[in-house]
């Protein structure tokens, strides 16, 4: 899969130079991941809202105006010439159409200058969640979670369970459920939102190909997640999942096991999208969020299973260890050599190099606080140390330690230019 991404057989390049640039950039990233020494340290800034904010657009534009989002993206691309790129196009209308309450969108309850913000809460109690999910996860998602997550989907709870439709005799009862105007309303709404999504995704696909044809490989593909976070972030909430660790550890472990193949099936979509490097943002396993023993019991085993299945399918899992994960380094070093990409936020880079250096490529971790409040000189100093400590013999991709929203233009420039200049291997 990585080779396929590097050779980009389905892309029609703008010219020979664009084709050569694409291949050089993709190979650079692929070499780093496979722990081979590339021509230089790759630089892949995880731009989120930055391209818009840096070019006079709002975050609301990114979420609700694909054309403006594309223009902002291309301006950032031209200004910084990174090794990989992802357009800042989002699907605000789609979330808005179904009244999704799990996120707040820019200009809708939060500032138009803010990226989307996640609303964590206990979407289902332990009694509502575990047995139902273990018994029939799709039914739980469809008739309990979706109606709570999206205002427009509330009537879904009136539908019968799909597992009851085992033959013709149950069909009339299912069909009758659609006589309910509320239920019908959900499907009409979803059809409308679906048509909107079709438009946005066609546009986004077309523009992504355009960017690739200019010589830039795409950055990380669709996101996976850790089973513990699936339950903690999306369903039970921080307090809920942490109490479950004491009150019903077996059920929590069983629900996480159950979610492994679901997550794997979800990330396999990356194969269709053509980019095998799949981002897995990680939240509740960071230092401080649980003890090392709890991490080894509740967090790592199922996350590792997800990653191993992905590797078996030819994908490159790119877990993003948010927060500080220094105490986890020994545990997370148990991964096949040169097959994954570990993205770090706060980490002791000396220990990371010592423990993971022979096993997995390091991506990160210029502090976003530095990019935001520091000077170009300070940014260069940080990148220099990073390359000296972690990147001497390959195995390093420079990036910010977080997603980049607000940052000083000159600091981003310094991070990218200095990596290109100081990160040469040959």
């Amino acid at each position: 899969m990585l080779e396929h991404w590097c050779s980009a057989p389905n892309i029609v390049f703008a010219n020979d130079q664009a084709e050569a640039s694409y291949k050089k950039r993709a190979k650079r990233v692929a070499d780093a991941i496979q722990l081979k020494v590339p021509d230089r340290v790759p630089i892949t800034p995880a731009f989120s809202m930055f391209p818009a904010l840096d070019n006079g657009y709002t975050c609301e534009d990114v979420f609700f105006n694909p054309e403006k989002a594309f223009t902002a993206g291309v301006k950032a691309l031209e200004a910084f010439q990174p090794d990989t790129f992802r357009l800042p196009i989002r699907q605000g209308q789609v979330f808005e159409a179904v009244d999704c309450r799990q996120i707040l969108l820019p200009g809708r309850g939060i500032s138009p200058m803010s990226g989307m913000q996640f609303v964590e809460k206990e979407y289902a109690t332990a009694d509502e969640f575990y047995d139902a999910f273990l018994d029939d996860p799709s039914d739980f998602m469809f008739r309990t979670l979706l109606p709570r997550m999206c205002g427009a989907m509330a009537p879904l709870k009136k539908l019968p369970a799909m597992r009851e439709i085992f033959g013709y005799s149950r069909l009339p009862a299912l069909i009758q459920a659609f006589a309910d105007p509320d239920v019908l309303g959900v499907f009409n709404k979803m059809a409308e939102a679906g048509a909107e999504m079709e438009k946005i995704s066609a546009y986004s696909r077309e523009k992504s190909r355009e960017v690739m044809s200019m010589g830039f490989p795409t950055d990380l593909s669709v996101g996976g997640l850790a089973p513990f976070d699936l339950i903690g972030d999306q369903i039970r909430g921080t307090r809920g999942v942490m109490l479950d660790m004491f009150r019903r550890p077996e059920k929590l472990l069983a629900a996480m096991e159950k979610s492994v193949p679901m997550i794997v099936a979800m990330v396999l979509r990356a194969k269709i999208m053509g980019n095998p490097i799949v981002s897995i943002p990680l939240h509740k396993g960071a230092d401080g969020f649980m003890s090392l023993e709890q991490y080894k019991t509740f967090y790592w085993p199922t996350l590792r299973k997800v990653m191993i299945s992905m590797i078996d399918e030819g994908l490159v899992p790119a877990p993003f260890f948010e927060g500080d994960n220094t105490s986890r380094l020994e545990v997370i070093s148990d991964i096949p050599k040169g097959k994954a990409l570990y993205r770090f936020e706060k980490i002791n880079i000396h220990k990371a190099k010592e423990i993971l250096g022979d096993t997995v490529c390091f991506r990160g971790n210029v502090p976003v606080s530095l990019l935001n409040t520091g000077t170009p000189e300070e940014v260069k100093d940080y990148v220099k140390e990073l390359i000296d400590v972690v990147g001497r013999e390959g195995g390093l991709i420079v990036d910010c330690g977080s997603v980049i929203d607000e940052a000083k233009h000159e600091n981003i420039k310094a991070m990218i230019e200095f990596t290109k200049e100081y990160g040469r291997y040959y």
Binding site: M113, V119, M242, F246, G288, Q294, S369, N372, T373
Partner: protein, 210 residues
């Protein structure tokens, strides 16, 4: 003090802790002493958090036990019991940011450690911080934020406190996912605290208690 109750709570044995507390109450035990045992247990849990033996799940579980036992005990307390607080802390998530989890944990930890805490919510504009300082008269102000947009909101909030002539009355601490010493400097606040217990320690240091 009940040694058994303290031990059960510290060892995260929820059912045991609840039944010990209930047994004590049923046998006419002093409700205030039961709560004192809980406070003692919370203090030990807090210390274990500071030394890296316990983590967030244990804090959450201990808090859950405390709140269940408090609910059980309260009807048995005669008259108004006013506990002396160590000091007053005003806390909120700054303008533009709606994240509450970190703020709620800090609020809870300050509360169980004897501070009087006023939580003014999320997405709090600078002028609301100023207004609340005038009204509540805290010694300490805690600003929370997860996003990078919070940097400027924190800076503006500190500036608003300066402009209102209140800066010398309060110590200001910041915390949250993207915060660090660099951001403390940028926002001109007094301390960056990496986690809830660091916040409690800093608050105690500022108030002058050990």
């Amino acid at each position: 003090m009940s040694k058994e109750l303290i031990e059960a709570m510290v060892d995260m044995k929820e059912q045991e802790a609840l039944s010990i507390a209930k047994g004590l109450l049923d046998n006419g035990g002093d409700p205030i002493k039961i709560l004192d045992s809980c406070s003692e247990a919370m203090e030990i849990v807090g210390k274990r958090f500071e030394t890296g033996e316990y983590f967030l799940p244990q804090l959450m579980m201990a808090g859950e036990m405390l709140s269940q036992i408090s609910i059980m005990v309260k009807p048995h307390i005669k008259g108004e019991q006013t506990k002396e607080s160590l000091g007053k802390v005003l806390i909120g998530t700054v303008k533009g940011d709606i994240h509450n989890i970190g703020k709620d944990i800090v609020t809870f930890m300050l509360d169980v450690n004897g501070f009087e805490v006023k939580d003014i919510g999320v997405d709090v504009p600078p002028e609301k911080f100023v207004e609340a300082i005038k009204e509540f008269k805290p010694q300490i102000v805690g600003m929370s934020g997860l996003l990078t947009l919070a940097y400027d909101s924190m800076k503006d909030t500190v500036q608003a406190i300066v402009n209102a002539g209140l800066r010398d009355n309060v110590k200001i601490m910041i915390g949250g996912g993207q915060m660090d010493e660099k951001v403390r400097e940028y926002t001109a606040s007094d301390a960056y605290c990496q986690d809830a217990m660091a916040g409690v320690s800093k608050a105690k240091e500022w108030i002058g208690v050990k």
